[in-house]
Structure formats: structure tokens, C-alpha cells
Symmetry: C2
Subunit: 188 residues, 2 copies
């Protein structure tokens, strides 16, 4: 087996998610993931620190996507509307990977350690959005609160997306959740 | 030293917080905490699983306080107003322990592992508030979103409380943060 493997990262990610879905996260070993992907353990560890990180390897690109979209929102946009632009951009990516994203969500919900890791990822996304808002001249605490509101919407829309049988698009669920948050904070 | 020690839990908590503030969380050992409290390590482990849990020993009573206050809100109260009642009740307790609470906050902010543990605590408080709202007949996603909004306000008010030099009451900062969240979500 050669040193260079085309799309090793993607193959490992797919193999891991298959195995986690079939046998559970705890029961799966790195050896099994590498074997299913047709790669070596050595290649696995060149890409991921451990089997948990396979599920969080896209966190950085998601953060860049959210921040990039937020920064691209019109200068005149209210903070919450700039956050909504970021959520829309993320929704498009999740929709393109619907099956993968929903499988991943199920694996995470089933495991306490993964749920905690996911919370840390969401907090880090919230901090990145707040920073980006500050960069647009939004003062605190408005910047932090708009970011926290956006991440709350993201989290709850995602949970609904995985749980729904009628499978509406995630973008629609995010917009609905944001509208619902607006209604709730308005005291309705 | 007798088997029964008056207020051992409180003495261990105070001793731990002093040592974490003086030398840092990482540098402090259970042996040192027990010694400072005038107790044995055995007594320490009768009350806490490890040195981290000393900082989170009150999470259950905080949850009970929040849920109890929320349940005590008038039946006619909108979800977000019931959440505000819960936050007010928590604020009163934090204000009574201002020095302790602010010291604790500083120790947590300084350590990545403790920040993660705090996130998990906040997520658990949010889940408890959402459950309590569902118990009052609030449907989802409104229940989850009102709870997430409340915890975002709690988190940000708390961060401001520790950071401010003019030391306004936490209840005031929570109310201000909630008003700011309302303004932000209204697109201001």
C-alpha cells in the first residue's frame, strides 16, 4: 500500500461513520476503521488524533464557512440578520451531505462523551461568530448574545432535522427556529 | 480526627477555592486541599470524586433552585418570563455568595478542562429548564429555545459580573442581558 492515498481523509470518515452506526462508537476500533477504508492504522493517525476526532474533523471548515458568510452579509444588516446569513450558508452544506450529517448526529446523540465534545464545538463556533460581529462594529453584550442565539437556533434546528420523519430542509428548520426564538423572546 | 466533621463539604470547598486562586487549579492537589481544610484525604473523597468536582458540587441544587422558581412563576407567564423568574432566583443566591462565585468563575475561565465542564453544566441546566417548561404545557421548539435563551443570558451576565469593576448586582446584569437579547432578536 502506497504512502499517498487518494482522499484518505474522506474514506476514513465514511468508514468510521458506517462502523459507528452499525456497532456503536464505543465498540469500534481504529484498526477496524482503517481496514474498512482499505488503509493502514498509520494512515489513520496521520489524519486523526483518535476515533473521536473523525467526527469533528470538519469543525474548522464549518467555522470558516460561518464566519465567511457572516462577513459577507450587507454592512447594514442587523447582527441577528448577519447571523441568519451564516446559518443559511451552513444549512446548504448540511443539506448537500444530508445522509452523512444525520448519521453523524445519531452517533453523537447516543454517546455522552461525544455530546460533550459537540457542546465544546458549538461553544467555539459561538465565540467565532461573536468575534466576527465585533469585527463588524457590534458592541458587547449584543455581539455575544446574537452569536449565542444563532448557535441555539443551529443546535435545535439540527436536533429537529434528525428527528423528523417528513425530512424538511435544514434551512427551513433553521429559519423556523429563529422565528420561534424571536417570538419567544418577544414574550409570546 | 473524628469520622464526623461539621460542615466538611463547605470547608473543603472553601479550602479548594483558596488554593486554586492562589496557585492555580492544575498545581493544587487533593492532599493540599484536605490539609488546608483541616481534614483527611479520606474525608475529601467521601464528599467529592476529584478536585474538579469541588467546583461543581452545587450544580444539582442550582438546577433545583431554577426549576423550583420556574414552576413557581404565574401560570399565565410567557415562557421567557417564567425563565426570567428562575434567573432572578439564581441571582439572589449568587449575590449572597458574591466573593465565592466570582473567585470560582476566575478559576474556571483560566482552565480549558474546567470551561468544558462548565459548558456541560450549563447544557444540563438548559435541558432541565426546557423540561420544566414542557411540564407547564409549552410546546417544542419554544420550550427548548426559551431555555437556551435563558442559559445564554445567564452565561453572559455571569461573565460580565466577574469582569466589571463597578460590580453591579448580578440580577441587574441578567435583566440587562435579557433585554439586550430581546433587542438583538428583534433585529436591533
Amino acid at each position: 500500500m502506497g504512502r499517498w492515498e487518494p482522499n484518505a481523509r474522506g474514506r476514513l470518515e465514511r468508514a468510521a461513520l458506517e462502523l459507528y452506526s452499525e456497532h456503536g462508537f464505543e465498540q469500534t476500533t481504529v484498526t477496524e476503521i482503517a481496514k474498512r477504508a482499505g488503509l493502514t492504522e498509520r494512515t489513520f493517525f496521520r489524519h486523526y488524533a483518535d476515533k473521536r476526532e473523525v467526527l469533528f474533523g470538519n469543525a474548522t471548515s464549518l467555522e470558516e464557512l460561518l464566519v465567511g458568510a457572516l462577513n459577507g452579509a450587507p454592512e447594514s444588516a442587523a447582527p441577528i440578520d448577519a447571523v441568519a446569513v451564516a446559518l443559511d450558508a451552513a444549512a446548504a452544506v448540511f443539506e448537500d451531505r444530508r445522509e452523512h450529517s444525520q448519521k453523524r448526529q445519531k452517533v453523537i446523540v447516543a454517546n455522552a462523551e461525544l455530546r460533550e465534545r459537540e457542546l465544546i464545538k458549538l461553544a467555539s463556533l459561538s465565540a467565532a461568530l461573536a468575534d466576527a460581529l465585533r469585527g463588524r462594529g457590534v458592541a458587547d453584550p449584543a455581539a455575544s448574545l446574537a452569536a449565542e442565539a444563532g448557535i441555539a437556533v443551529f443546535k435545535i434546528a439540527f436536533e429537529r432535522w434528525g428527528g423528523e420523519t417528513n425530512q424538511r430542509p435544514i434551512a427551513q428548520l433553521m429559519r423556523e427556529s429563529l422565528d420561534e426564538l424571536k417570538a419567544v423572546t418577544a414574550g409570546k
